[in-house]
């Protein structure tokens, strides 16, 4: 199934030249396979026809690539015609294409409501969460590609290992050595402090920002916007205490930390959770300067 390279728009049902003296079993299996292929081609053609005849269809051009399959090693775009329904997202259209035309079409998704962060893609030249992007807001044909600046594994799936490494590098978990007095006392955070870090806690690790960042593309060691935002989330959390904050600032102001940022605002533009990434990075820069320059 996954070895075929199906064409979605033209209905090519191959009438096959019979091979020489096959065994009864082979013949039967061939026949079965042939019929299944015909059936599939018929159904796909039918769907495509129906979709094309339907007034409201959207045209999707989807990036296809699979290093493990011979016919797919050369990257190409497949066209899918998908019947439009109100409220349809790019993810919906991709799922329709996969379920109707080509089950080998590969992409990550899970929650379908912009909380799991698994379906960041490059849609019409911008990093978008497929499940949060309305078809009606896009120009056709809609080009769907894997995230730039990451290894493509297959179709729309990219390797996020490097992104996760950068996230881990800032120690993205709560640490403190300042405990409240009573043994059973809670570690309370002031409302103001919670408000301060509120936006930074919303990150869903989708990697859209990392992919959009021109600096991260050229410097693999750069922590990147998401990791710096994560560092911000903890560095600004008063409950961690002064000593831990010093440690966090050291990570933040290292050579490939905040100072790589050139305030291009690309990350802030693409973040599906509207986190003011550039603002957080800039604030950490000032924090780092204040920490090192002491005239007072």
């Amino acid at each position: 199934m996954s070895t075929q390279t199906p064409k979605q728009t033209d209905e090519s049902s191959e009438t096959d030249a019979e091979t020489e003296v096959p065994s009864k079993g082979d013949e039967r299996r061939d026949e079965k396979r042939r019929r299944a292929a015909e059936e599939r081609a018929r159904r796909q053609a039918e769907e495509a026809e129906k979709a094309a005849a339907d007034e409201e269809t959207v045209e999707l051009k989807v990036f296809r690539y699979d290093p493990e399959i011979e016919g797919k090693q050369e990257p190409r775009f497949d066209t899918f015609h998908v019947p439009f329904t109100k409220g349809m997202t790019v993810l919906d259209a991709l799922m329709y294409s996969r379920d109707t035309y080509d089950s080998s079409l590969t992409f990550r998704h899970s929650c379908r409501q912009a909380v799991c962060g698994s379906d960041a893609m490059f849609v019409n030249g911008g990093q978008k969460l497929a499940c949060k992007t309305q078809i009606s807001e896009l120009e056709e044909p809609i080009r769907v590609e894997p995230l730039p600046h990451a290894d493509v594994e297959k179709d729309l799936v990219v390797d996020l290992e490097h992104f996760y490494d950068q996230m881990e590098a800032v120690e993205p978990y709560f640490q403190t050595n300042e405990y409240p007095d009573g043994e059973l006392e809670e570690q309370r955070q002031t409302r103001e402090n919670r408000e301060k870090i509120k936006m930074s806690t919303r990150c869903i690790w989708c990697s859209a920002c990392m992919s959009s960042c021109n600096i991260a593309a050229g410097d693999n060691e750069y922590l990147g916007p998401a990791a710096i935002n994560k560092a911000y989330r903890f560095a600004m959390d008063d409950r961690e205490g002064e000593e831990i904050k010093q440690k966090r600032l050291e990570i933040i102001e290292q050579e490939h930390g905040v100072w790589r940022c050139q305030t291009q605002f690309s990350c802030t533009e693409v973040c599906p959770k509207d986190i003011p990434l550039t603002e957080h990075i800039q604030e950490l820069k000032r924090e780092a300067v204040k920490n090192n320059l002491k005239f007072w």
Binding site: Y65, P67, P75, N124, G125, G126, P148, H149, A150, D151, V152, E153, N214, A217, N220, Q262, T263, Q264, F265, S266, T268, E269, P276, T278, E279, Q282, E283, K285, R286
Partner: protein, 142 residues
């Protein structure tokens, strides 16, 4: 970086139509910064003719002996190309100053929500100042 399938420069530059304001600002700021550096050197080269001029060096200019400093500058200013380049230089310098101020504000965390608007404002102001300067720079060049 993409290794198994390298989309190459297309990834960064053939998508310039999709660049947002902040990215354009960055590219223009780099470009104008380096143009200004380039101009600095030509500027030094031209002005340094004042050194031999102080020692009495002269050149033929419009049929008479003129000191090299005045001769160089006046003959350069007589070229339409130089006049046009001066308009360009002003545009580059004004944009760099305005956007540089914008970047300093960004560094201070002032008005980050309006970073795109301040970029457009820099562009428009640059355009206006450049147009207004044309009569001054081009006067008498034709």
């Amino acid at each position: 970086m993409s290794q198994s399938y390298n989309r190459g420069l297309i990834e960064d530059f053939s998508r310039w139509r999709e660049f947002e304001a902040g990215m354009w600002a960055w590219i223009f700021h780099k470009f104008t910064g380096w143009v200004l550096i380039g101009y600095l050197f030509t500027h030094i080269a031209v002005l340094s003719t004042a050194i031999p001029a102080a020692d009495g060096a002269t050149m033929m200019f419009q049929g008479s002996q003129t000191d090299v400093f005045t001769g160089t500058i006046v003959s350069l200013e007589g070229l339409l190309l130089v006049r046009l380049l001066e308009v360009g230089l002003l545009a580059v310098a004004v944009f760099h100053m305005l956007n540089g101020t914008r970047l300093l504000l960004v560094d201070l965390g002032v008005g980050l929500e309006a970073q795109d608007k301040s970029f457009y404002a820099s562009l428009i102001l640059t355009g206006a100042i450049t147009v207004a300067s044309v009569p001054t720079f081009i006067a008498g060049a034709f």
